[in-house]
Protein backbone atom coordinates (compact mmCIF):
# COMPACT_ATOMS: atom_id res chain seq x y z
CA UNK A 1 0.00 0.00 0.00
CA UNK A 2 1.44 3.37 -0.95
CA UNK A 3 0.73 6.80 0.53
CA UNK A 4 -2.07 7.44 -1.96
CA UNK A 5 -4.11 4.49 -0.70
CA UNK A 6 -3.22 5.10 2.96
CA UNK A 7 -4.47 8.68 2.58
CA UNK A 8 -7.71 7.46 1.00
CA UNK A 9 -8.14 5.00 3.91
CA UNK A 10 -7.52 7.72 6.51
CA UNK A 11 -10.06 10.04 4.91
CA UNK A 12 -12.60 7.19 4.82
CA UNK A 13 -12.14 6.58 8.56
CA UNK A 14 -12.31 10.34 9.17
CA UNK A 15 -15.67 10.45 7.40
CA UNK A 16 -16.87 7.58 9.60
CA UNK A 17 -15.71 9.42 12.76
CA UNK A 18 -17.53 12.55 11.56
CA UNK A 19 -20.74 10.49 11.43
CA UNK A 20 -20.06 9.18 14.96
CA UNK A 21 -19.49 12.77 16.12
CA UNK A 22 -22.73 13.85 14.43
CA UNK A 23 -24.65 11.11 16.24
CA UNK A 24 -23.03 12.17 19.52
CA UNK A 25 -24.15 15.78 18.86
CA UNK A 26 -27.69 14.55 18.17
CA UNK A 27 -27.74 12.64 21.47
CA UNK A 28 -26.57 15.81 23.24
CA UNK A 29 -29.34 17.77 21.49
CA UNK A 30 -31.96 15.28 22.71
CA UNK A 31 -30.65 15.68 26.28
CA UNK A 32 -30.22 19.44 26.57
CA UNK A 33 -32.15 20.78 23.56
CA UNK A 34 -29.39 23.29 22.77
CA UNK A 35 -29.41 24.54 19.19
CA UNK A 36 -25.58 24.49 19.17
CA UNK A 37 -25.63 20.70 19.43
CA UNK A 38 -28.02 20.46 16.49
CA UNK A 39 -25.82 22.77 14.41
CA UNK A 40 -22.82 20.63 15.40
CA UNK A 41 -24.61 17.49 14.21
CA UNK A 42 -25.54 19.03 10.86
CA UNK A 43 -21.99 20.36 10.41
CA UNK A 44 -20.54 16.93 11.21
CA UNK A 45 -22.75 15.20 8.63
CA UNK A 46 -21.85 17.86 6.04
CA UNK A 47 -18.13 17.39 6.81
CA UNK A 48 -18.54 13.62 6.52
CA UNK A 49 -20.18 13.99 3.11
CA UNK A 50 -17.47 16.45 2.06
CA UNK A 51 -14.74 14.01 3.08
CA UNK A 52 -16.30 11.22 1.00
CA UNK A 53 -16.50 13.57 -2.01
CA UNK A 54 -12.89 14.65 -1.42
CA UNK A 55 -11.79 11.01 -1.17
CA UNK A 56 -13.23 10.07 -4.56
CA UNK A 57 -11.87 13.31 -6.09
CA UNK A 58 -8.43 12.61 -4.64
CA UNK A 59 -8.32 9.06 -6.00
CA UNK A 60 -9.32 10.29 -9.46
CA UNK A 61 -6.81 13.15 -9.48
CA UNK A 62 -3.87 11.04 -8.33
CA UNK A 63 -4.52 8.02 -10.56
CA UNK A 64 -1.13 8.51 -12.20
CA UNK A 65 0.77 8.65 -8.87
CA UNK A 66 1.87 5.11 -7.98
Amino acid sequence: MNLRWFHALLIFFSAAVAVVFGLWCLSQYRQDGEIGSLIGAIAAFVVSFGLVVYDSWFLRQTRTLR
Binding site: L3, H7, I11, F13, Q28
Partner: protein, 196 residues
Protein backbone atom coordinates in the same frame (compact mmCIF):
# COMPACT_ATOMS: atom_id res chain seq x y z
CA UNK B 1 29.65 0.90 -2.68
CA UNK B 2 26.10 1.84 -3.55
CA UNK B 3 23.20 0.58 -1.41
CA UNK B 4 20.81 -1.46 -3.59
CA UNK B 5 17.01 -1.08 -3.66
CA UNK B 6 16.83 2.48 -2.33
CA UNK B 7 14.76 3.51 -5.34
CA UNK B 8 13.85 0.43 -7.35
CA UNK B 9 11.76 -2.33 -5.76
CA UNK B 10 13.18 -5.73 -4.87
CA UNK B 11 11.91 -8.41 -7.19
CA UNK B 12 10.95 -10.79 -4.36
CA UNK B 13 9.02 -8.32 -2.17
CA UNK B 14 7.99 -5.72 -4.74
CA UNK B 15 9.10 -3.01 -2.27
CA UNK B 16 12.21 -0.89 -1.81
CA UNK B 17 14.25 -0.92 1.42
CA UNK B 18 12.62 2.14 2.97
CA UNK B 19 9.08 0.93 2.28
CA UNK B 20 9.72 -2.43 3.93
CA UNK B 21 11.35 -0.69 6.88
CA UNK B 22 8.51 1.75 7.48
CA UNK B 23 5.82 -0.95 7.23
CA UNK B 24 7.69 -3.17 9.71
CA UNK B 25 7.98 -0.18 12.02
CA UNK B 26 4.29 0.65 11.63
CA UNK B 27 3.43 -2.99 12.40
CA UNK B 28 5.29 -2.66 15.71
CA UNK B 29 3.43 0.61 16.35
CA UNK B 30 0.09 -1.14 15.75
CA UNK B 31 1.10 -3.66 18.42
CA UNK B 32 2.08 -0.87 20.84
CA UNK B 33 -1.12 1.14 20.47
CA UNK B 34 -3.19 -2.04 20.12
CA UNK B 35 -1.95 -3.24 23.50
CA UNK B 36 -2.81 0.13 25.07
CA UNK B 37 -6.28 0.15 23.50
CA UNK B 38 -6.82 -3.41 24.75
CA UNK B 39 -5.72 -2.32 28.24
CA UNK B 40 -8.17 0.56 28.08
CA UNK B 41 -11.07 -1.76 27.12
CA UNK B 42 -10.17 -4.26 29.87
CA UNK B 43 -9.82 -1.58 32.56
CA UNK B 44 -13.04 0.14 31.50
CA UNK B 45 -15.18 -2.99 31.25
CA UNK B 46 -13.76 -4.29 34.54
CA UNK B 47 -14.49 -1.07 36.39
CA UNK B 48 -17.67 -0.66 38.44
CA UNK B 49 -17.93 3.00 37.43
CA UNK B 50 -16.28 4.90 34.60
CA UNK B 51 -16.69 8.59 33.71
CA UNK B 52 -17.88 9.53 30.24
CA UNK B 53 -15.12 11.40 28.44
CA UNK B 54 -17.45 14.16 27.26
CA UNK B 55 -18.27 15.11 30.86
CA UNK B 56 -14.67 15.79 31.91
CA UNK B 57 -12.70 16.41 28.71
CA UNK B 58 -13.00 19.28 26.23
CA UNK B 59 -14.82 17.92 23.17
CA UNK B 60 -14.59 21.25 21.22
CA UNK B 61 -10.79 21.33 21.57
CA UNK B 62 -10.49 17.68 20.56
CA UNK B 63 -12.80 18.25 17.57
CA UNK B 64 -10.66 21.19 16.49
CA UNK B 65 -7.52 19.06 16.81
CA UNK B 66 -9.15 16.30 14.75
CA UNK B 67 -9.78 18.79 11.94
CA UNK B 68 -6.18 20.02 12.25
CA UNK B 69 -4.77 16.51 11.87
CA UNK B 70 -7.04 15.64 8.94
CA UNK B 71 -5.90 18.88 7.24
CA UNK B 72 -2.28 17.97 7.94
CA UNK B 73 -2.75 14.62 6.20
CA UNK B 74 -3.97 16.50 3.12
CA UNK B 75 -0.92 18.81 3.12
CA UNK B 76 1.35 15.78 3.66
CA UNK B 77 0.00 13.87 0.69
CA UNK B 78 0.13 17.05 -1.43
CA UNK B 79 3.80 17.46 -0.47
CA UNK B 80 4.53 13.95 -1.74
CA UNK B 81 2.44 14.49 -4.90
CA UNK B 82 4.41 17.71 -5.57
CA UNK B 83 7.68 15.77 -5.45
CA UNK B 84 6.27 13.12 -7.76
CA UNK B 85 5.61 15.96 -10.22
CA UNK B 86 9.10 17.38 -9.57
CA UNK B 87 7.96 20.65 -7.98
CA UNK B 88 10.31 21.29 -5.06
CA UNK B 89 8.92 24.76 -4.25
CA UNK B 90 5.37 23.43 -3.90
CA UNK B 91 6.67 20.51 -1.85
CA UNK B 92 8.36 22.92 0.57
CA UNK B 93 5.14 24.89 0.98
CA UNK B 94 3.04 21.79 1.76
CA UNK B 95 5.57 20.08 4.04
CA UNK B 96 5.99 23.38 5.93
CA UNK B 97 2.19 23.52 6.30
CA UNK B 98 2.22 19.98 7.68
CA UNK B 99 4.80 20.91 10.31
CA UNK B 100 2.83 24.03 11.27
CA UNK B 101 -0.42 22.06 11.63
CA UNK B 102 1.41 19.56 13.84
CA UNK B 103 2.58 22.49 15.95
CA UNK B 104 -1.00 23.79 16.24
CA UNK B 105 -2.08 20.33 17.43
CA UNK B 106 0.62 20.29 20.12
CA UNK B 107 -0.22 23.84 21.29
CA UNK B 108 -3.88 22.89 21.70
CA UNK B 109 -2.85 19.77 23.63
CA UNK B 110 -0.63 21.96 25.84
CA UNK B 111 -3.64 24.07 26.81
CA UNK B 112 -5.73 20.94 27.37
CA UNK B 113 -3.07 19.38 29.60
CA UNK B 114 -2.50 22.68 31.46
CA UNK B 115 -6.21 22.87 32.27
CA UNK B 116 -6.19 19.31 33.62
CA UNK B 117 -3.11 19.92 35.77
CA UNK B 118 -4.55 23.23 36.99
CA UNK B 119 -7.62 21.38 38.24
CA UNK B 120 -5.47 18.77 39.97
CA UNK B 121 -5.97 15.95 37.46
CA UNK B 122 -2.84 13.86 36.97
CA UNK B 123 -2.12 10.35 35.67
CA UNK B 124 -2.15 9.19 39.29
CA UNK B 125 -5.63 10.63 39.93
CA UNK B 126 -7.59 7.60 38.68
CA UNK B 127 -7.63 4.92 35.98
CA UNK B 128 -9.38 7.21 33.49
CA UNK B 129 -6.72 9.89 33.69
CA UNK B 130 -3.95 7.27 33.74
CA UNK B 131 -5.10 5.82 30.41
CA UNK B 132 -5.97 9.28 29.02
CA UNK B 133 -2.52 10.74 29.72
CA UNK B 134 -0.73 7.56 28.58
CA UNK B 135 -2.53 7.29 25.24
CA UNK B 136 -2.60 10.99 24.38
CA UNK B 137 0.94 11.57 25.73
CA UNK B 138 2.36 8.75 23.62
CA UNK B 139 0.44 10.06 20.63
CA UNK B 140 1.85 13.56 21.20
CA UNK B 141 5.38 12.12 21.21
CA UNK B 142 4.64 10.54 17.83
CA UNK B 143 3.34 13.85 16.47
CA UNK B 144 6.52 15.57 17.68
CA UNK B 145 8.67 12.84 16.06
CA UNK B 146 6.83 13.16 12.75
CA UNK B 147 7.22 16.94 12.88
CA UNK B 148 10.98 16.60 13.43
CA UNK B 149 11.36 14.32 10.39
CA UNK B 150 9.18 16.55 8.20
CA UNK B 151 11.04 19.66 9.35
CA UNK B 152 14.29 17.94 8.36
CA UNK B 153 12.92 17.25 4.87
CA UNK B 154 11.73 20.85 4.63
CA UNK B 155 15.19 22.13 5.61
CA UNK B 156 18.59 20.41 5.30
CA UNK B 157 17.22 17.07 4.09
CA UNK B 158 15.88 18.66 0.89
CA UNK B 159 19.46 18.84 -0.44
CA UNK B 160 19.12 15.21 -1.46
CA UNK B 161 16.51 16.24 -4.04
CA UNK B 162 19.28 17.73 -6.23
CA UNK B 163 21.40 14.57 -6.22
CA UNK B 164 18.79 11.79 -6.08
CA UNK B 165 15.19 13.04 -6.44
CA UNK B 166 13.65 9.54 -6.63
CA UNK B 167 15.23 8.44 -3.35
CA UNK B 168 14.22 11.72 -1.68
CA UNK B 169 10.63 11.24 -2.89
CA UNK B 170 10.58 7.72 -1.43
CA UNK B 171 11.83 9.02 1.91
CA UNK B 172 9.13 11.68 1.99
CA UNK B 173 6.51 9.04 1.17
CA UNK B 174 7.72 6.92 4.10
CA UNK B 175 7.52 9.94 6.38
CA UNK B 176 4.00 10.51 5.04
CA UNK B 177 3.02 6.93 5.85
CA UNK B 178 4.16 7.47 9.44
CA UNK B 179 2.31 10.79 9.63
CA UNK B 180 -0.87 9.15 8.35
CA UNK B 181 -0.52 6.37 10.89
CA UNK B 182 -0.27 8.96 13.68
CA UNK B 183 -3.41 10.65 12.29
CA UNK B 184 -5.21 7.32 12.15
CA UNK B 185 -4.39 6.64 15.81
CA UNK B 186 -5.99 9.99 16.71
CA UNK B 187 -9.05 9.14 14.60
CA UNK B 188 -9.54 6.14 16.93
CA UNK B 189 -8.51 7.99 20.11
CA UNK B 190 -10.96 10.87 19.64
CA UNK B 191 -14.26 8.94 19.82
CA UNK B 192 -12.87 6.38 22.29
CA UNK B 193 -11.63 8.83 24.90
CA UNK B 194 -13.73 11.96 24.31
CA UNK B 195 -17.17 10.83 23.13
CA UNK B 196 -17.86 7.45 24.73
Amino acid sequence: MEIPYTVEARRDTGLNNGKIGIWLFLASEVMLFGALFASYILIRTGSSSWPRGDTILSVPLATFNTLVLISSSVTMVMAWASLMRRKLGTFRMYIGGTVLLGLVFLIVKYFEYSDKFHHGHFPSTDNFYAIYFTLTGLHMLHVAGGMAVNAYFWGPGAKQYYTNPEWFTNRVENSGLFWHFVDLVWIFLFPTLYLL
